[in-house]
């Protein structure tokens, strides 16, 4: 009897643990490497790469190492010539929902229409994320991403966007990607497959076009024999 009870207890415990474990472990795990910007060497943070839309002597990237109570920060400064400047990290994501977020603040970031501010996002064409502009104190920015199939995703902490370049200073801290069950109500949501489908289609569909034009050119070539 005791053995049976113990066995049932063990099975029930395992079942409960099996159900809770992913949530417990995944909810707390930050899939970004060095998302707290705690480690780095000299002026470069570990695992993050600075990237400019256009190389410019006016665009600067800094890692601010953690100091006592202050967590580490990444800074982007675009002075003079506008730019789209970002810190980038590539992360491999399995299918599921993810909450991608960071804290950001801005100084003197252009706030006019057609100017993109400071944001955390993914580097996929056509995606737009919540931004802060002007002079702004620490603000939590983030969104939920649905991944349908395993994919490498480029996470960016950026100031400006292509064709919506900007100037100013942006600071980021406590960046994270956490696996979650699903998005919370009212949150910004992006679907990776949809974002990547904007230029999708059958690559080979261009071949019949070339064949057709090639035939027309061949006929033209033949007809032009006696010009």
């Amino acid at each position: 009897m005791n053995v049976l009870r113990l066995s049932l207890f063990a099975v029930a415990s395992w079942a409960i643990l099996a159900m809770l474990a992913p949530h417990i472990s995944l909810a707390s795990e930050n899939l970004l490497v060095n998302g707290d910007f705690a480690s780095g060497a000299e002026s470069s943070p570990a695992a993050w790469t600075p990237e400019s839309w256009v190389s410019s002597p006016d665009t600067h990237y800094r890692w601010i190492a953690p100091l006592r109570d202050h967590p580490g920060e990444l800074e982007i400064e675009t002075a003079g010539m506008v730019n789209d400047a970002r810190w980038v990290q590539t992360v491999h994501l399995d299918p599921g929902w993810y909450h991608i977020h960071a804290e950001a603040r801005s100084e003197n970031v252009g706030a006019g229409p057609g100017l993109a501010g400071a944001a955390i996002g993914i580097l996929e064409f056509g995606t737009r994320f919540d931004q802060i502009k002007g002079d702004s104190d620490w603000t939590e920015l983030g969104f939920y991403l649905n991944v349908a199939e395993p994919a490498d995703v480029r996470v960016v902490l950026r100031l400006g966007e292509p064709w919506q370049y900007n100037t100013g200073r942006a600071f980021f801290r406590n960046a994270a990607i956490e696996r979650v069950d699903g998005p919370v109500a009212g949150a910004q949501i992006w679907n990776l497959s949809e974002a990547r489908s904007i230029w999708s289609g059958n690559r080979l569909s261009i071949v019949p076009v070339f064949v057709l034009l090639g035939v027309a050119a061949a006929i033209g070539w033949r007809l032009c024999k006696t010009l």
Partner: protein
């Protein structure tokens, strides 16, 4: 007696018609290539290359639209999706420079510098065929080499110089086609012409369509007129259709080939993705036309009628130096050349009424066509949109000045050419100094009119010398050479409000 006089009247009329018909076809002869041609084209190309390659990496950061197009080129190399409304050839050339030599300002600009240099050589070859004159060819090439807009766009990673150069190549091949008789050679020429047109279409949105219309229309005209005698109408039409089929299909193939890197590097999904790009472009243009920006919301923008008068050039880039000097890239044509080109187009139009020629018609059609395409556009337009029309203006100017040189112009035409110097003298030297200089100029011309041959040469030399002097004077603003603020302001001849503001809107 009455019959005889009627016949007498008919014969000169027939002769006149024949003469008119022959003038309306491209000249069948081109000056034979000589050592002078070799020396001229090599010298002009060396000068153009030196002007375009010297200190190419300066300014050290993005200049004007380089932020867009160099950025797009970088995205190509990172295989990062991006959208630009323009077909990608020029961006691919910028990316090629970056891929070969690394991410430096000079490598962004290298391909455009080389293409801009090639334009000078192509213009020389085109000038020979258009005007059957080495002098006209040399002048046209020199004008393109020494013009501020053509120079700056060759030293910057922006779009215009590539489609203008490929269009010029197509014009050259069109005239080659018209001036040769060997069928096999003509067919090969058509293929190269089609490739040039395809590249032209692949280098910028919409505008190259004028080059296509101009070249196709001229091709039809040449084939229809040259074989009018002795060839049945049906046969002529067959040849026209064959030529259009060959050029059209090859141009389209080349145009789509330009997109192949998008299919490979940017993972575009075939023709469907291309069609989505076309729709996105239409949305972009509609959005721009919807009036989000107007001429007056972007101080750098200007309507089309400003451009021939050079009312609204603008600053591509400007920095103050620690010593107080100011370095500027000022996007503007050479004022003497720009105003003289307008005069030359006017004179050429008048000549079309008096004694029309195919060349003059082609040049005027090109100038008006490239200007007319912008007339209905309501979105922001800029001085650089004038470049393809101005190219024809420089061809016309070279043709008229060469005619002046060989005394094939009337006094009125010479006067129009000299009038281009009036605003430059008044604005550059001030009212008193300018008036004295102009009085001396026109007095000298008046004296030279007594010997008519000399007056044409006087007008030609005066214009060419003034244009060269203007180039030297404005060169610091083309090359971003540091000069004193006083020196900068003295070169800003028009600083009024609204459209006539030469120092408008420095770009950070």
């Amino acid at each position: 007696m009455a019959r005889a006089s009627a016949r007498e009247r008919r014969v000169p009329n027939a002769h006149k018609k024949e003469k008119l018909a022959s003038s309306l076809t491209p000249a069948a002869t081109v000056p034979t290539w000589s050592r002078i041609d070799t020396i001229a084209i090599v010298a002009l190309t060396i000068v153009a290359a030196a002007l375009r390659l010297w200190h190419l990496g300066y300014p050290p950061g993005p200049v004007f639209d380089e932020i867009n197009f160099v950025g797009d080129a970088g995205a190509y190399l990172r295989r990062e999706q991006f959208f630009t409304p323009h077909p990608p050839l020029t961006i691919q050339l910028i990316a090629l420079g970056m891929w070969l030599f690394g991410d430096h300002t000079w490598s962004w600009r290298l391909s455009n510098a080389l293409v801009g240099t090639a334009l000078v050589a192509i213009t020389y070859l085109l000038g020979r065929r258009l005007f059957q004159s080495r002098l006209a060819a040399a002048l046209a090439a020199a004008f393109v080499a020494l013009d501020g807009m053509f120079l700056i766009d060759s030293r910057t990673g922006v779009l215009d110089i590539v489609y203008i150069t490929t269009a010029a190549l197509a014009y050259l091949l069109l005239f080659r086609f018209a001036q040769i008789r060997d069928s096999a050679d003509r067919r090969r020429t058509l293929v190269f012409l089609a490739v040039a047109l395809g590249l032209c279409l692949g280098a910028k949105l919409m505008v190259p369509i004028i080059a296509v219309i101009l070249v196709s229309g001229s091709l039809i005209y040449v084939l229809e007129t040259e074989q009018r005698i002795g060839t049945k109408r049906r046969e002529r039409h067959r040849k026209v259709i064959a030529a259009l089929l060959l050029t059209g299909s090859i141009s389209a193939i080349v145009y789509f080939l330009v997109f192949v890197p998008n299919f490979i590097a940017l993972r575009w999904g075939g023709i469907e993705a291309w069609w989505r790009y076309v729709n996105a472009t239409r949305w972009f243009e509609a959005h721009m036309n919807a009036g989000e920006k107007t001429f007056w919301s972007d101080g750098r923008a200007s309507p089309w009628w400003n451009w021939p008068l050079m009312l609204h050039p603008f600053i591509y880039w400007q920095r103050s130096m620690p010593d107080g000097a100011v370095a500027t890239v000022w996007f503007a044509p050479n004022p003497i050349l720009c105003w003289a080109a307008l005069g030359a187009i006017f004179v050429t139009i008048l000549r079309l009424f008096r004694s029309p020629t195919f060349t003059d018609g082609f040049v005027v059609a090109g100038y008006i066509g490239f200007l007319a395409i912008y007339m209905p556009v309501s979105r922001t337009l800029y001085e650089y949109h004038y470049m393809p029309a101005l190219y024809f203006g420089y061809l016309a100017l070279a043709g008229i000045l060469a005619r002046c040189w060989r005394s094939a112009t009337i006094g009125f035409e010479q006067l129009i050419m000299l009038l281009a110097l009036v605003p430059a003298a008044e604005l550059g030297f001030g009212f008193v100094g300018g008036s004295i200089a102009l009085a001396a100029l026109f007095a000298a011309w008046g004296v030279s009119l007594r010997r008519f041959a000399l007056s044409g040469r006087f007008a030609c030399v005066s214009c060419a010398t003034a244009a060269f002097a203007a180039f030297i004077y404005f060169a610091p603003l083309y090359f971003a050479m540091p000069i004193s603020p006083a020196g900068f302001h003295s070169r800003m001849w028009m600083q009024g409000p609204g459209t006539a503001d030469w120092s408008c809107c420095p770009v950070k």
